[in-house]
């Protein structure tokens, strides 16, 4: 008996439900919003440059079977701490960005190590653990930034200190760093600004990920991701491999957050990181990734669809209801919705794969009986 290999419309629909849904939403909203093509493309290209690096940082833990890493928020916090120091030291432009990246590494590694160790204690529940750890580490972050900075940790510049003398102001201004990466080698083409350096960095990151899959460590992570016990029996240090994957993710998330914030040009000190994990994960899922499988293609498609929706939804909201807030509302609602849907779909797909064989059997039986009746 041969399994049918021809294109199955329903199957395709179920496997790509989320991306298809978003394509439809975007297709409806784009004409409603009334944006010009060049404006829209310009916005999307800018946001791709801003966001893709962060989302790429999610790929490696998925490969190691640790699911969607909400722990990336820890890296984002590390990036922010580094940016605060760099701002205080008044090192601007690309050197400032590079220095911030370097400074973020030890903090990211430390937090990643902590996160990885805890996740090894709660195998199979990495996602919820990472999510909860965000809240916990956010508390530590607030303690450090709100009380320790400028009291224990020297902060020289009054401009970023709170008026009471210690703690950091609610917004850190990165005006002198704003879009320094985006503007380097930027090309203007028919009203669309292409941030070439940003895309080069993203390209290099993609190559690193592709290369990484071919390394021994990458192979070990794939093995650990599929079956921890077998990997252990083959002598792979499972716990260590998992920790390394989380550390890599956290470090890259730190870089990603720095790239993201330099593009925006300022950040709310206490909340900039809070939703970043969720939005990145939502974007990745919109691109068609699942809990156990994600590719670079998913990242690019996801960013384009997710951000297109963000750009056009407020204006489309105005066109339909007369209220721009509907766009922001939509953004949060959709993000949570997509993550929930992806988690449910993951379970359904697993179950469907099991029941599919049964359906085939029932079908074959029916066919045989009909054939018998005719003859």
């Amino acid at each position: 008996m041969k399994l049918k290999k021809n294109f199955d419309g329903l199957d395709f629909l179920q496997n790509n439900l989320v991306p298809l849904m978003f394509i439809i939403i975007c297709a409806v909203c784009i004409p409603l919003s009334g944006f010009s093509a060049s404006y829209l493309i310009n916005e999307i290209v800018t946001r791709m440059g801003r966001n893709i690096f962060l989302i790429l940082s999610l790929l490696i833990p998925i490969m190691a079977g640790m699911g969607l890493n909400f722990g990336m928020t820890l890296g984002a916090m590390a990036g922010q701490v580094a940016l605060i120091f760099v701002t205080d030291w008044q090192i601007w432009g690309i050197p400032g960005v590079v220095l911030a990246m370097i400074l973020s590494v030890p903090v990211s590694v430390l937090l990643g190590l902590l996160c990885g160790k805890l996740m090894n204690m709660a195998k199979g529940r990495e996602m919820i653990l990472g999510y909860m750890m965000n809240y916990f580490v956010t508390g530590l972050y607030q303690l450090v930034v709100l009380y320790f900075m400028a009291s224990i940790i020297p902060i020289r510049h009054a401009s970023i200190r709170l008026p009471r003398g210690f703690g950091i102001r609610t917004t850190v201004n990165l005006a002198n760093m704003r879009q320094c990466l985006d503007n380097e080698f930027a090309i203007l083409y028919k009203g669309v600004k292409i941030p070439v350096l940003n895309f080069i960095i993203i390209g290099v990151m993609c190559l690193i990920i592709i290369w990484f899959r071919r390394t021994k460590l990458g192979q070990d992570m794939r093995a650990v991701g599929q079956d921890m016990e077998v990997a252990q029996a083959a002598g792979i240090n499972v716990d260590r491999t998992r920790i390394i994957s989380i550390i890599i993710s956290t470090v890259f998330a730190g870089f990603g957050q720095i790239i993201y914030l330099q593009n925006i040009g300022n950040f709310p000190t206490y909340t900039a990181h809070s939703q970043i994990g969720m939005f990145c994960i939502a974007a990745l899922l919109v691109g068609g990734a699942s809990v156990e499988k994600a590719s670079i293609g998913n990242v690019f498609l996801g960013v384009i669809l997710f951000h297109t929706m963000f750009i056009v939804a407020p204006r489309a909201g105005v066109a339909i209801t007369g209220d721009a807030m509907i766009g922001e509302y939509f953004r949060v609602f959709v993000s949570y919705g997509v993550i929930t849907l992806a988690l449910v779909m993951y379970e359904i797909k697993k179950r469907r794969a099991r029941s599919q064989g049964g359906e085939l059997l029932a079908q074959a039986q029916r066919a045989r009986r009909e054939g018998g009746a005719q003859s």
């Binding site: 008996m1 390394t215 021994k216 093995a223 077998v230 029941s355 049964g358 039986q365 009986r369």
Partner: protein, 531 residues
């Protein structure tokens, strides 16, 4: 390397006890390079423990180590972990597969031993960032597969392979290790089809010809005679016989294993088969059943089972006989109609079946059958308690476990089935395979069902225990009037026990014959519809 006169492996006065329970006593034997040693013995004879000692498994150290010496090439060795054993050139293929499902055969064969290429980044950050050398991997896995002498597709992912090829992948993995000198195969043919088993025996001969020593553990005695140079028979923790294979026969080995004359039962039905009772009413009728059980697919099976009979279901491995009970009891997805006692049974719902007074002794005793880390009492009484509220005392609204009744019933079955244990409170995990099987039966008996499915009741059980288990089933059937459906790969055992036997082939019923019919007739049915 191998000095003349010094054997590759010498086990000297090996002793081992678990919590005061002596399981190995004065084990002595030797093995030369290129020799194949067949190790057999009843369940609980100590084969597994002995191999665990040789392979340096953690459980041995955790339970206080062992006495005696293991000599490799004349040198005393004591492995602290399996990795030490691997490094010393000992490979082991376990009964359970240890493979990464989404990897290809090549990736699995070389798992964690992949050939690598250095690069600039790995110079800085360490060896783990070396890239894999895919060409070299293909070459080495190809070489290992050639060494084994069985063709498997090195580029195929494990999850899409038939069971037999998974087993061969495991063996190829051991063979790909250059230092391999001694390979332990623990019941490797249990999951193979006849043809695959034949190929495996051939590959064992190949390995031996290349100077690799093999310890081959199996219950299929003719396989031992076919490939082994010598046979070591164990019983109750002693080596009772160590002879060249040429001087042994199946009946000799069986006699040594059980230490008594096996009744001639093996050849013919033990008691005259009851005349087929055509008048008995049909208690279960199965119509157009399909079951999606991986490796045991059932396609369109219709059967009528009569009240009070022992009905056998036989057939070759992988033809679907195991799928029938698993499907009806709701463990795998199934469709079609099943009526029990005139009432339809809802498929895909285990609880409904149990409520209808059906019981099932699964072939998967570790996975489905037993709570391994609970006491025997708990294992025997749990389903009855859960489903029928037995062994419970009522005090107003509160229900308590009736420990006394539980103890009594467990004791009864321990005696009736001759279960070897230290007490009824021992954990199920600590029993040997055969005794675990008996506990599974006791559990089903305690439910006092009206209808019992027994799947592979004697798989992995030694000859002595086999007779006991089959006897217990028969008694249960005769005395309590329970209808029993027994599924087994061993035709002789079905013919000894059952009234009628259905042979499943290619997922369908190839035919139903009375047990007294000749083996040839059954054999013809078995292969009639093989896919």
């Amino acid at each position: 390397m191998t000095n003349n006169g010094t054997p590759l492996l010498r086990m000297q006065n090996i002793k081992k006890d678990f919590f005061g329970n002596q399981v190995l006593t004065d084990i002595n034997f030797t093995l030369e390079a290129g020799q194949v040693l067949g190790l057999c013995g009843e369940n609980g004879a100590g084969k597994s423990t002995l191999m665990k000692i040789l392979f340096g498994m953690d459980v041995i150290r955790e339970t206080g180590g062992y006495d005696g010496d293991v000599l490799l090439n004349g040198q005393k060795t004591e492995f602290k972990t399996p990795f030490d054993a691997l490094a010393a050139g000992i490979g082991m293929v376990h009964q359970e597969f240890s493979l990464i499902p989404g990897f290809t055969a090549t990736e699995n064969i070389l798992l964690n031993r992949e050939p690598k290429k250095k690069n600039v980044i790995s110079e800085v950050f360490g060896d783990r960032l070396n890239t894999l050398d895919y060409k070299e991997m293909d070459r080495r896995s190809g070489e290992a597969i050639r060494k084994m002498g069985v063709e498997i597709d090195a580029g195929m992912t494990i999850s899409s392979m038939p069971v037999g090829h998974k087993q061969f992948t495991e063996i190829a993995r051991e063979l790909s290790k250059d230092q391999l000198k001694l390979l332990i195969l623990d019941e490797p043919t249990a999951v193979l089809t006849e043809k695959e088993a034949e190929a495996l025996l051939e590959s064992i001969r190949n390995m031996a010809a290349q100077g690799i020593a093999v310890i081959f553990i199996t219950h299929r005695l003719h396989e031992i005679l076919a490939v082994c140079d010598k046979v070591v028979v164990m019983r109750d923790g002693y080596v009772v016989k160590d002879v060249p294979a040429a001087e042994a026969s199946v009946s000799d080995i069986t006699r040594w294993m059980v230490g008594r004359e096996v009744q001639k039962a093996a050849a013919a039905p033990a008691e005259p088969v009851r005349a087929e009772n055509r008048d008995a009413r049909v208690v279960m009728s199965i119509r157009n059943l399909w079951v999606d059980m991986p490796g045991e697919t059932v396609r369109d099976v219709s059967l009528d089972i009569r009240d009070g009979e022992i009905f056998g279901i036989g057939g070759l491995a992988g033809q679907g006989k195991l799928g029938i009970p698993n499907g009806i009891m709701g463990l795998y997805q199934a469709g079609g109609t099943v009526e029990f006692d005139g009432k339809p049974i809802q498929l895909n719902s285990p609880r409904k079946c149990l409520d209808a007074s059906l019981a099932f002794v699964s072939e998967d005793r570790r996975g489905v059958g037993l709570l391994l880390d609970e006491s025997l009492e708990w294992n025997v009484a749990f389903p009855a308690m859960q489903i029928q509220n037995k062994f419970l005392k009522k005090y107003g609204p509160v229900r308590w476990r009736d420990e006394k009744a539980i103890h009594a019933v467990t004791k009864k079955y321990i005696d009736a089935l001759e279960i070897k244990c230290t007490s009824s409170r021992q954990n199920a995990r600590e029993l040997s395979g055969g005794n675990q099987q008996k506990i599974c039966l006791a559990k089903a008996f305690a439910l006092e069902p009206r209808f019992l499915f027994v799947s592979e009741p004697t798989r992995g059980i030694d000859v002595g225990a086999k007779a006991l288990v089959l006897d217990a089933l028969k008694r249960f059937n005769r005395e309590s009037g329970v209808t029993v459906v027994m599924i087994s790969s061993e035709l002789e055992e079905l013919r000894q026990t059952c009234d009628r036997i259905a042979i499943i082939s290619g997922g369908q019923v190839a035919g139903i014959l009375p047990a007294a019919d000749s083996s040839e007739d059954f054999g013809a049915l078995m292969v009639s519809k093989v896919i």
